[in-house]
Chain length 330, copies 2
């Protein structure tokens, strides 16, 4: 295992130290593993907190900043953060208008965020949680009851974050988060496994000509293991799976996301196929992201996440954002 | 070889088709392989053209837009573009104030850009070329006489692009490009080789515990092949090599760049070590980029590029930029 790290046990704190040094817009509490906006809570604005296992960078800490999250709680690699982190983060970002917890649907995350929300409520905080569960590949999975939460998390953080920035109340921000999740779907494909530093070896084996269709972002099994084929056909499998679940129509936000080790050229090749597929269906990709946003360490492969837009969602997507990993309009 | 592509011969045009679909701010001429700003040339502004082999994305096409390049000419993977592309691009971006060619120091690129500049000059265009040669690892290399041009290309494109946007004349923009190159240095480290689609196998072999110190962005040999070690020590080798060539002092712009397959977490771990190293030397990392900017397909590894800043360079770095891969201030 060749990892650019110092010691297996130090990966998360060393990452956070690097983020703190790189981004003066963030306040990074390395000891308690909380990443906040350096400017502190915005009075009267709903605070947005998310978090989850590390290894998916830039998710979530890379999305802390104006127009998205107020705080992120990184756990160990592929391991839920603990309630204490979430409670500290919730307190730190509460500007008096309540706090939204954005929770990817993994059992550990769900239980810990639930506990944190209850303890915060007991202390008088106003906390609402929304669950992200966009992955159409499988109904239940290794760490999940129901659908897994993957790429749509970024969409929820962006659009709910924009609405919060505009001064909307907690109930409206939470409703928007649920709307975005309800309109979003994802499907991932692995070309290789990833290697968790503490394990020191790949999380599963794929043959030289095999791919895993419907992979999870921790390497959880998907729908089937099949022979490798050309980009056009792989994209079609993913898009067909999404379309069968929520048919494409109108304006669509698309993310073609690299899992970590797939070159940007290849993601653009895939995006071209996604764009053509949507045209065939009479829909239009009006907004997109192409790059590594919700990763799985050094896994080779990609995922597609789509969201059916309307004028309001488009406007929230276009709202200015200023975070380490997503920035426009300021 | 598992590549998310349709056919080996279609990788570059398919990538360009994907870029065209993803970025309405670009005008992509897929047939002639030129990427331009959709808005066309800015009257009275110096035009900036760069280009080089594909496989380093987002360099160069991802840096076409306000505040950086006016055009990029992508060649085949790891192969120089041809003079016809450069001539067409030069004509297309000439807003009456002349055109700057930004050329990475590889023999093919240098010869083809020279021929293009001569032919443009014969037709009456005012073209100046600047060579980027920032890689301290080796003096000559597989495809290069003198030092290789790598990460500093981004810095040159950004800062010369900002000055051009502010209305400076061609001679001043070219002088700034040379200043940025003169103040910049790079050093790369490979953990694995990359696989060029047309070759179908890795460009070289590295043992399970080996790394290549001083790697080039096409997999050209570096200074030495050594045993793998912790991030702190690997970063120190790279920073010592840069510091020995151009001692660190004052404000420093730092890019910790992933070669393609190295997780963002690890790049942040490395950035933390770079930051600490500079403090030891009495210098300060005042601006930085951490991510995949000048890649080498699916190579695992990273490079460090530094630039000694002054107030003017810092101001040019901070100037608004709006490209697919680098954006702030608008």
């Amino acid at each position: 295992m060749k990892k650019l790290i110092n010691a297996v046990g130090d990966v998360v704190p060393d990452t956070l130290r690097g983020m703190a040094a790189a981004h003066p817009s963030l306040r990074v509490d390395v000891e308690n593993r909380i990443v906040l906006r350096a400017a502190g809570p915005t009075p009267g604005k709903v605070g947005l907190v998310s978090g989850g296992g590390s290894g998916h960078e830039p998710l979530h800490a890379g999305f802390v900043g104006y127009g998205m999250l107020d705080a992120a709680c990184p756990g160990e690699i592929f391991t839920s953060p603990v309630p204490d982190q979430m409670i500290e983060a919730t307190k730190a970002v509460d500007g008096g208008a309540g706090v939204l917890h954005i929770v990817k649907n993994y059992t550990g995350d769900v239980l810990n965020f639930e506990m944190a929300a209850e303890l915060c409520a007991e202390e008088g905080a106003h906390v609402v949680s929304v669950l992200v569960d966009d992955d159409v590949a499988v109904q239940d999975s290794t760490y999940t009851a129901g659908r897994r939460g993957t790429g749509a998390t970024l969409f929820v953080e962006k659009m709910a974050g924009a609405l919060a920035e505009q001064g909307a109340p907690l109930e409206a921000v939470a409703a928007m988060a649920r709307t975005v999740d309800a309109r979003s779907r994802s499907f991932g494909v692995a070309f290789s496994a990833c290697t968790v530093p503490a394990a020191g070896k790949p999380t599963f084996d794929l043959g030289p000509d095999e791919i895993e269709l419907g992979i999870g972002i921790h390497g959880e099994p998907g729908r089937s293991r099949e022979r490798f084929r050309e980009a056009r056909e792989i994209v079609r499998v993913a898009m067909d799976a999404i379309d069968a679940d929520l048919p494409f129509s109108g304006d669509v936000l698309v993310m073609v996301n690299g899992m970590g080790a797939t070159p940007l050229m290849e993601l653009y090749v895939a995006y071209g196929e996604v764009d053509a597929y949507l045209r065939e269906k009479g829909a239009t990709a009006t907004r997109c992201l192409v790059g590594d946003y919700v990763t799985s360490l050094d896994m080779a492969g990609f995922s597609i996440t789509t969201c059916l837009l309307d004028a309001e969602l488009t406007s929230l997507w276009d709202h200015p954002v200023e975070t380490p990993a997503l920035r426009w309009g300021r």
